[in-house]
């Protein structure tokens, strides 16, 4: 296979919807001044369509496919697959990619792929003369050309480690975390990285330290090679053989980590799966010594790693082997909004205010009360209305009053407009939400509005200092019925038991019943004119509601005015009546009632007039 894996035109198919990694690849492209994004397409079994991402200052759309084969067919130039599939599916997806004619290189990110599977991947790649990087790796980077996934981290780090333009150093290590550290070391001690690969920490990486070192040996632009080995395995001994056989002529600075293992009890498993010495040959010390004896440049400890790299670079530069790469200024990348916010660099005006609840707390809160406390306190639905509508913990009687109002308004039979409309909609086969809405939409000045109207009118009359008699006269003069007064059948002598009970409850529990008292004075006048002009249940609820708010003592007058004028009483009626409307909807659906058609005899056809 050709020693170069990537160019400035290389494009990849990313398997797995990893938006952060994809964005980082595209940001790197921007730093390098690439014209074409390095991500050609995204494959994810659960997504298709497009993914919107930043490319520099603007945005681009990346096509998404459910199947790898479709992506590969649509993007024949993409020859790299960055595979984010989990350890369970990484093998099959990597094999599929590897066996596809378009693909030359597969980077496998997942950790925990069974060793046998990894060995099959590695052998298949060799058979097909292709490259597998990983598994269990962060990937790799070719400075100024192409970056795999999350390699080299943030944009800032890429620029600081001069990865946006090529230098002269080829690097390979097992560890992904350390490779980034080493790019920093290389940037500080040489003219920068040419290419860096992390082969992954598993026992059987798809490609080995040796394979990458041999590639670097064959790439003319690479002038020196830096590598980081690790305790366990015999891979570094192959490098020793290559050095002895003079297959490696470029200077190689290498350090094998894990020299501490002799101090450790047998059987300590280091962080990497492959990092365990199976024999004395596999210890870090033995490998460092063998490498040094074979002519590699080996520091005494990791502390001197950078020093050795620097010395080697200086020698090459002095000899003229390396002509130091030119410094290229990377364009500055606009900061991500979320990042800037997080760092407190920018501020933004909000579009909404919310003062009643918070789902972002440890526990959901209603008006600063954790939901668990709401439940424990037994405040019931009346208490919850108090918290969410009025932002108050209502006293017992207030909660009870609201619940009573809900019970009393829950239903008034099928004939009223709300229930009727809901029934018609339900029978037309509409869903429950549409049916409910069709009923609720009839609530207004003529249906269900009396509670709110009564509260408004009586409160206004009393607040303006009108005597009951004056109020009755006024309304008459305006030609208006007094809302909340009058009943079809009930009268003074045949009282509505709902009203009787409600009045008794309020008298017993409220601290004040001033508006109720006022209303009853009004009732005395109206009922003396006609027996059925009594305070009806709607009027009683509306008026007592105002008394309830006053009784609580925690509402200022302006707040009470606001609550009444906002239409809270209509809201109370809507909540209560929704219960009944749902009842009617379910009743129709249960009986499987067919489409309703108004009978002809209900309609007066007067078209000929």
């Amino acid at each position: 296979m050709k020693p170069e894996l990537f160019t400035k035109d290389t494009t990849a198919i990313v398997y797995g919807y990893h938006t952060n990694a994809i964005q980082r690849m595209l940001d790197f492209d921007y730093a390098c001044g690439r014209k074409v994004p390095s991500v050609a397409a995204i494959v994810d079994p659960g997504h298709e369509g497009v993914h919107k991402a930043f490319f520099g200052k603007g945005e681009i759309l990346l096509p998404m496919y459910k199947k790898f084969a479709d992506a590969a067919a649509a993007h024949p130039k993409a020859d790299v697959v960055v595979n984010f599939a989990s350890y369970r599916s990484a093998f099959s997806s990597s094999m599929e990619a590897l066996e596809h004619g378009n693909i030359r290189t597969v980077a496998v990110i997942a950790e925990g792929i069974p060793e046998r599977r990894a060995r099959i991947l590695a052998a298949t790649a060799r058979k097909l003369d292709k490259m597998v990087i990983g598994p269990a790796t962060v990937g790799g980077i070719k400075a100024g050309c192409f970056k795999i996934a999350n390699t080299a981290g943030t944009y800032e780090n890429i620029v600081e480690s001069k990865l946006h333009r090529p230098g002269s150093v080829g690097f390979v290590s097992k560890s992904g975390g350390l490779s980034n550290e080493c790019y920093n070391i290389i940037a500080r001690n040489t003219d920068g990285l040419y290419e860096g690969i992390a082969i992954g920490g598993d026992a059987y990486p798809g490609s080995t330290l040796m394979e990458h070192i041999l590639r670097y040996e064959a790439i003319p632009a690479v002038k020196m090679i830096v590598a980081l080995g690790e305790i366990g395995g015999t891979e570094e001994l192959r490098i020793v053989e290559a050095l002895k056989a003079k297959k490696l002529k470029k200077p190689l600075v290498i350090w094998v980590t894990g020299t501490c293992s002799k101090m450790f009890p047998a059987g300590v498993q280091f962080g990497h799966a492959g990092a365990k010495a199976g024999s004395d040959l596999e210890t870090a010390e033995a490998k460092n010594k063998a490498l040094k004896d074979a002519g590699a440049i080996v520091p005494d400890s990791f502390d001197d790693y950078g020093v050795k790299i620097h010395e080697t670079y200086k020698k090459l530069a002095a000899k003229g082997v390396i002509k130091p790469a030119e410094e290229v200024k990377a364009p500055s990348l606009p900061m991500d909004f979320a990042q800037a916010m997080k760092e407190g660099r920018i501020r933004k005006a909000t579009t909404f205010i919310n003062t009643i609840s918070n789902e972002k707390k440890e526990e959901l809160e209603y008006c600063n009360m954790p939901i668990s406390k709401v439940l424990e306190s037994g405040m019931g639905i009346g208490g919850v209305i108090g918290l969410l509508w009025f932002k108050r913990e209502l006293p017992d009687y207030g909660r009870k009053f609201l619940e009573t109002a809900l019970i009393l308004t829950a239903d008034h039979g099928p004939a009223v407009s709300g229930a009727h409309n809901a029934i018609v909609a339900a029978r037309a086969g509409k869903d429950i939400i549409s049916s409910l809405a069709s009923g609720l939409l009839t609530i207004g000045p003529r249906f269900g509005g009396a509670i709110d109207d009564a509260a408004q009118h009586f409160k206004h009359a009393k607040d303006s200092g009108l005597t009951p008699a004056h109020f009755v006269r006024d309304m008459k003069a305006k030609g208006l019925n007094i809302p909340g007064i009058g009943h079809k059948v009930k009268s003074i002598s045949n009282p509505d038991m709902r009203v009787t009970q409600l009045k008794a409850f309020c008298r017993k529990n409220f601290k004040h019943t001033e508006l109720l008292d006022y209303a009853l004075e009004v009732e005395k006048i109206t009922s003396s004119k006609k027996g059925n002009l009594i305070l009806n249940v709607d009027g009683c609820i509306g008026i007592c509601f105002v008394d309830m708010l006053h009784s609580c003592g925690s509402f200022k007058k302006a707040e009470i005015d606001n609550i009444v004028s906002m239409g809270c009483l209509n809201a109370l009626f809507v909540v209560g009546r929704s219960i009944g409307i749902f009842g009617h909807i379910f009743d129709q659906k249960r009986q499987k009632q067919p489409l309703y058609r108004t009978p002809y005899d209900e309609i007066a056809y007067m078209t000929d007039l």
Partner: protein, 422 residues
């Protein structure tokens, strides 16, 4: 996540059940294997395994060490009473095997197969290499196999080949050749599909016409667990003989198994003065190396690492465990905590530090009492915020914290903390 030794009992169970599928005439039965632990009730064991009362038995420790015969840890040809007495006399006793000393706490019992040692003991092993698996076969097995290693025949099975397409290189097995070949091929298939990385039967012998595996050593690749659930059953990975895990190590292992991140902790010397809390599988080794290279290996307390973008809660629990361990016993010279790491690729440094800072605050009093000095070195996403938070913590924590970023060589903090080479 790596190659792990398993008990002979488990290995044989997997093998016997699996071989039965390949060779219908195979006689080994997984039901005729019993495991004895300190709390095993003999009455219940006999009830579950009635064959124990009917057959001659073998009893032996099953704790991932070999050469049991040489160490007098084999009880052969015994009836149930004798075998149980033999086990009871050794249970919870400390023994030394080779260089390792440990407590005996797990034994296995299986039926005894009489055979002539020299003539009828054979050897088979399979070992994984990068490009192939090698099958080792010898007609001389038992405790003499090493002395007769030149008689061992090797067959490489390339990783992309099927065992069916490979000619087996076999020593002279006489009339048993075909039978052994069938057995070895079946064994290989089981080895491959069962996620084994090493499998050794030394020796196997014969009972009439049947092949009988006697002693078995096996390692499996624990990352294959998800593919091998059916074959393995509820497979346990015991600690190597002689090594015991502390409560804290077990706790971290539990965390590690529960999260997608990686969390590792090994306590090397609980009285050590130098404690590492290092991010990254690679970097953690280098920090430990550097401590040793500077001559402080005797004072190094732990090896550990956290990586793979652990959550704040994970790093909090991890840090708490390390801080608790390091503040248990005072040292007049004080102690050193190195919160190290390379330049992360994608781990959010500020986020992981949030968990560590929470734990440090919780242990404030103990850190002061133990005269702990803290050195921080880290880079990566959000590292500036993370380092700044650490610096600010230094104002209130009451113990010195020195904080460094990518501008400082990764391991320089180690010599700063220890005051140079010893």
């Amino acid at each position: 996540m790596a190659q792990r030794g398993i008990r002979e009992y488990e290995g044989k169970k997997i093998l016997f059940d699996g071989l039965a599928g390949h060779i219908p005439s195979f006689k080994g039965k997984s039901e005729k294997l019993a495991l004895v632990r300190p709390d095993t009730d003999p009455k219940k064991l006999v009830k579950d395994h009635p064959w124990l009362l009917k057959e001659k038995l073998v009893a032996k420790p099953d704790q991932l060490f070999g050469k049991r015969g040489k160490h007098g840890l084999l009880c052969l040809n015994a009836d149930w009473k004798t075998a149980w007495k033999w086990i009871s006399a050794r249970m919870n006793k400390t023994v030394t095997v080779g260089k390792t000393t440990g407590e005996l706490n797990t034994f296995m019992i299986e039926p005894f197969t009489p055979h002539k040692e020299d003539a009828e003991e054979c050897y088979v092993a399979i070992r994984a290499y990068r490009d192939y698996d090698t099958v080792y076969l010898s007609n001389k097995g038992g405790i003499y196999v090493e002395e007769n290693w030149e008689k061992v025949k090797e067959t490489r099975v390339p990783i992309l080949s099927s065992i069916d397409d490979v000619k087996l290189n076999m020593p002279d097995f006489g009339k048993r050749r075909a039978q052994i070949e069938e057995f070895v091929r079946a064994l290989y298939k089981l080895y491959a599909e069962g996620g084994f990385t090493y499998l050794e039967i030394n020796p196997f012998t014969f009972s009439g016409d049947d092949i009988v595996p006697l002693d078995l050593v096996a390692k499996v690749d624990d990352t294959a667990a998800f593919e091998c659930a059916k074959l393995w059953g509820d497979l346990e990975f015991p600690a190597p003989f002689g090594s015991t895990h502390t409560k804290e190590e077990d706790f971290i292992r539990g965390l590690d198994e529960k999260t997608g991140a990686s969390l590792k902790l090994t306590v090397l010397n609980p009285k050590g003065r130098i404690w590492n809390m290092v991010a990254g599988g690679g970097a953690s080794v280098i920090y430990a190396d550097t401590v040793c290279d500077l001559g402080y290996s005797k004072e190094l307390a732990n090896y550990g690492e956290y990586s793979g973008d652990p959550s704040t809660e994970d790093t909090y629990q991890y840090a708490k465990t390390v801080l608790d361990l390091m503040t248990r016993e005072k040292d007049s010279r004080g102690k050193v905590l190195i919160i190290g790491g390379g330049i992360a690729n994608f781990t959010d440094v500020a986020k992981t530090f949030t968990g560590i800072i929470k734990a440090l605050n919780e242990y404030k009093a103990k850190l002061i009492a133990n005269k702990v000095k803290i050195y921080v070195r880290r880079g990566g996403p959000n590292y500036k915020e993370g380092l700044e938070n650490m610096r600010r913590l230094g104002d209130t924590l009451g113990v010195p914290i020195e904080v460094y970023g990518p501008e400082t060589h990764m391991t320089s903090v180690v010599s700063m903390a220890l005051g140079g080479k010893k």
